[in-house]
């Protein structure tokens, strides 16, 4: 089969980091090509070079056999390459149709908008994708799945040949992911070439024809997916073997650390439960079931209307995150970039945010001592960074998450609240985060973790609480034996 695109020996450096080293990547016309690798492996960099966001230092790009120069995003678009980023780029206040034709409104000369034509054309594209949707819907009221479809429609409207999808399934529900697969297969049938970036291996096998693995900025392997087993793939990604671990249950939990009684606010209703010292408790439920809201309420980030909270047996009034932190809690929030990290500050400054008082002398910070502790954390958590003073922005997602966890290790928090701790994180780093959690629990620290990944829940948690519509509806104390029940109850209530 002929290659529609070839990237040959592409290299790219950023200050202090070789992001890509002589990487080869090629696409056959009409295939779904998966691109996978750990965070920081270089897949985003490679795709951003293709999209014209970055320019390559070395190498060559051939499109249909001809050498092309991609210097800006518009170069890329003109060559028929369309990229859909993980953070969707739709304008929320406009209609779906307007977003699809954003830029020229089907009317390159300007002037009045031909609404009827605009909506009809948009509708045609949606029906091409097998969807019947009113294109005049305002984007902000569309579901994530629909927004994703609109991005795809936008790509098609721009007359592209190659569509790059960067982790398209991240925010989608199970049904929406199925729909996405369908649309991808449909597009493939129509001759579009698709690059599919994802961390989730099942997804690759569900939609992909071939896969390319990158590791540390270098090409590792390109092969047809049917020739490569899942464990082999994991080994290529991480460079080492990962054994699947089953949770060993400690039944020696002692006294309770956290006791929540009758918690209620707008999003959660009459929730009561407790977490013992050294216990890992999972919170499972659909998106919108109130998991995040419960964690935020316990942490004092959102107000409660009624309810009591006991820590170590005594009643506490936790009306702000500040008080929660003072009482030994730490939150690893769902949105790393907007709630967890301060991207322009160094990793060391991020890590010491909650502990500045402890690491200061008459309010002057003790830099030397902080340096030593940070070094310890970098080694303990295997944070990949060239220095302690690197801005958080330059780290990959998994490493940012480790820095956020290190905040609470440094602060010696006794209860850690994790909200989707491994979302968008590669397999290697995921496994490391599970190990950290287990070590914490062996240390007698308590963990409450909200997750929507059932495998994660079964691998890590001692006990599972199921939430539905803001209520706690069921508890399983040996979760591994009840996988299908847990999933059923979470969906049906």
């Amino acid at each position: 089969m002929s290659n529609i695109l070839e990237m040959k020996q592409v290299s790219k450096s950023f200050p202090g980091v070789k992001a890509l080293q002589k990487v080869d990547f090629s696409l056959e016309k009409g295939e779904v090509h998966c691109l996978i690798g750990a965070n920081g492996a270089g897949k985003s960099t490679l795709m951003k070079i293709l999209a014209g966001v970055y320019t390559k230092d070395e190498g060559e790009i051939l499109l249909e056999g001809k050498s092309v120069a991609i210097k800006t995003p518009s170069d890329s678009k003109e060559l028929g390459i369309s990229t859909i980023y993980q953070e969707l780029s739709l304008v929320e206040e406009l209609t779906l149709a307007e977003n699809i034709y954003l830029g020229n409104y089907l009317n390159p000369n300007g002037g009045f908008i031909k609404w009827k034509q605009l909506n009809e054309e948009a509708k045609k594209i949606f029906s091409l994708l097998g969807l019947s949707i009113a294109p005049s819907l305002q984007t902000s009221s569309a579901s994530m799945g629909l927004k994703q479809m609109t991005e795809i429609a936008k790509a098609i409207a721009s007359d592209c040949k190659i569509i790059v999808m960067d982790e398209p399934s991240t925010a989608l529900s199970g049904d929406e992911v199925e729909k996405l697969y369908e649309v991808i297969r449909l597009l493939k049938g129509k001759g579009y070439t698709i690059v599919y970036i994802s961390h989730k291996l099942e997804e690759l096998y569900a939609v992909g024809d071939r896969v390319t693995v990158l590791r540390n900025g270098e090409w590792v392997i390109t092969d047809r997916l049917e020739n490569i087993s899942q464990p082999e793939l994991i080994q290529h990604i991480t460079g080492r073997k990962i054994e699947k671990k089953e949770k060993v249950h400690h039944t020696t939990h002692r006294e309770e650390f956290l006791d929540v009684k009758n918690f209620s606010n707008k999003k959660i209703h009459d929730v009561s439960f407790s977490v013992k010292k050294g216990e890992i408790v999972g919170l499972y439920g659909l998106v919108g079931s109130g998991r995040t809201e419960l964690l935020r309420a316990i942490f004092g980030a959102d107000p409660i209307d009624s309810g009591e909270i006991y820590i170590d047996g005594s009643k506490k009034n936790i009306s702000s995150p500040q008080k929660a932190v003072d009482h030994g809690m730490g939150l690893v929030p769902e949105n790393r970039k907007t709630e967890g990290a301060i991207l322009d500050l160094s990793i060391s400054e991020n890590a010491f945010l909650p502990s500045l008082r402890a690491y200061s002398n008459r309010s002057f910070v003790k830099r030397k001592q902080m340096k030593a502790v940070m070094q310890e954390m970098i080694e303990k958590l295997n944070i990949k960074t060239s220095s302690k003073e690197v801005p958080m922005r330059n780290l990959s997602g998994g490493n940012q998450q480790k820095v956020i966890i290190s905040k609470w290790l440094i602060h010696q928090s006794r209860l850690l609240l994790f909200d989707e701790p491994t979302q968008g994180i590669d397999i290697g780093a995921k496994d490391e985060i599970y190990t950290i959690m287990k070590e914490l629990s062996e240390d007698g620290k308590s963990i409450l973790m909200a997750t929507s990944e059932i495998e994660e829940l079964l691998a890590v948690c001692d006990r599972v609480l199921i939430m539905f519509n803001g209520r706690l509806i069921k508890e399983f104390s040996t979760p591994a034996n009840y996988k299908s029940e847990i999933m059923n109850i979470a969906v049906s209530g």
Partner: protein
């Protein structure tokens, strides 16, 4: 591979290349450029007397710019500083001219400045009124109050014990300039080495992350407004001592000079990025432009036109250099 990277970075840290220096200290090079231009255009530019004048004239904007840097670092803005300067200047001179001990009058005035700053902070954090609007309202009201104190009349008859604050020490070094420099050093230390300073950067960089790390964001934002109000009062007191008169029109439009100097100094209006050192140089660059025009005997109308052009050019150059690898 990781090892090599570390070595490179260490080497970079020890022997930074010229490019790295140029990028990091580009503002300083722009500053040097202005000094060279000034000394070429006028023989008097680098004379001791002229440098002292320059420092004297910069000191009022300079002192207020320190407070403004704190406010802008937490992604706020304080439009009321010019009016607060006038109101506190009137208050101090009114109390002193009616016979109060200057030290007591100054203490009371500083508290009033802090209180006005607190009101700005309280309104913008508790009621979620954008700082732009809250301080705009304060600007209008404080200016009105400044006129009300004396029905718009200036206050003369100030004792030498007070006006000495606007004079010179050690022969001919202006006291206001010394106060500005000392306050600058204190602010540098606070922002760089204290927990308060580091939290300011955290709050400005990402308020939600800071809050979820247990930092009481509203409290720190309010403190920044208090610092800004207090320093506006310091400038108000010093300016009336220097002019030997309390004037309700003092500092009209000053807030814009201050904001321009802070932004010129590299502080981001989005918060979280910037430094007092940059602000110090930003203030000096603005004063130098005025100074060069004065030495050349050009009218203040030209000054205004060129000031605008030069600020924009300097910022464009700054952007260009810092984006270049």
């Amino acid at each position: 591979m990781t090892v090599n990277i570390e070595r490179n970075e260490e080497r970079e840290a020890r022997f930074p290349s010229f490019k790295v220096i140029l990028k990091k200290y580009n503002l300083f090079f722009i500053f040097l450029g202005f000094i060279i231009i000034g000394s070429l255009l006028s023989d008097q530019f680098l004379s001791v007397q002229n440098i002292l004048n320059l420092l004297q004239q910069s000191s009022f904007v300079g002192i207020i710019s320190i407070g403004m840097t704190f406010v802008i670092l937490v992604a706020g803005i304080d439009l009321s500083v010019g009016a607060v300067l006038a109101l506190t200047g009137m208050l101090a001179t009114l109390m002193i001219s009616s016979g109060m001990n200057p030290a007591a009058a100054i203490a009371i005035t500083l508290v009033v400045g802090a209180a006005l700053g607190f009101v700005n902070g309280f309104i913008s954090t508790k009621f979620k009124v954008p700082a732009f609007i809250a301080t705009l309202a304060m600007m209008v009201s404080a200016r009105g109050l400044a006129f009300l104190t004396t029905d718009g009349n200036p206050i003369y008859d100030l004792p030498p014990s007070f006006t000495a604050l606007g004079g010179n020490v050690f022969g001919k070094i202006p006291l206001t300039a010394i106060i500005w420099i000392v306050l600058t050093i204190v602010a540098v230390i606070v922002l760089k080495y204290t927990t308060f300073g580091r939290k300011i950067y955290a709050v400005g960089g990402n308020a939600e992350s800071a809050r979820l790390s247990g930092i009481p964001v509203e409290k720190y934002v309010t403190w920044c407004f208090i610092i800004s109000g207090t320093l506006a009062a310091v400038a108000g007191i010093l300016m009336s001592a220097w002019l030997t008169v309390g004037q309700p029109t003092a500092g009209t439009g000053l807030e814009l000079d201050v904001i321009a100097a802070v932004v010129l100094g590299g502080t981001s209006l989005f918060g979280g990025k910037g430094s007092i050192g940059g602000t110090f140089i930003g203030v000096l660059i603005m004063s130098m432009i005025v100074n060069i025009f004065n030495l050349l005997g050009l009218s203040s109308y030209y000054q205004s036109v060129f000031m605008g052009v030069i600020i924009v050019l300097a910022l464009i150059m700054n952007q260009y250099i810092s984006n270049k690898k």
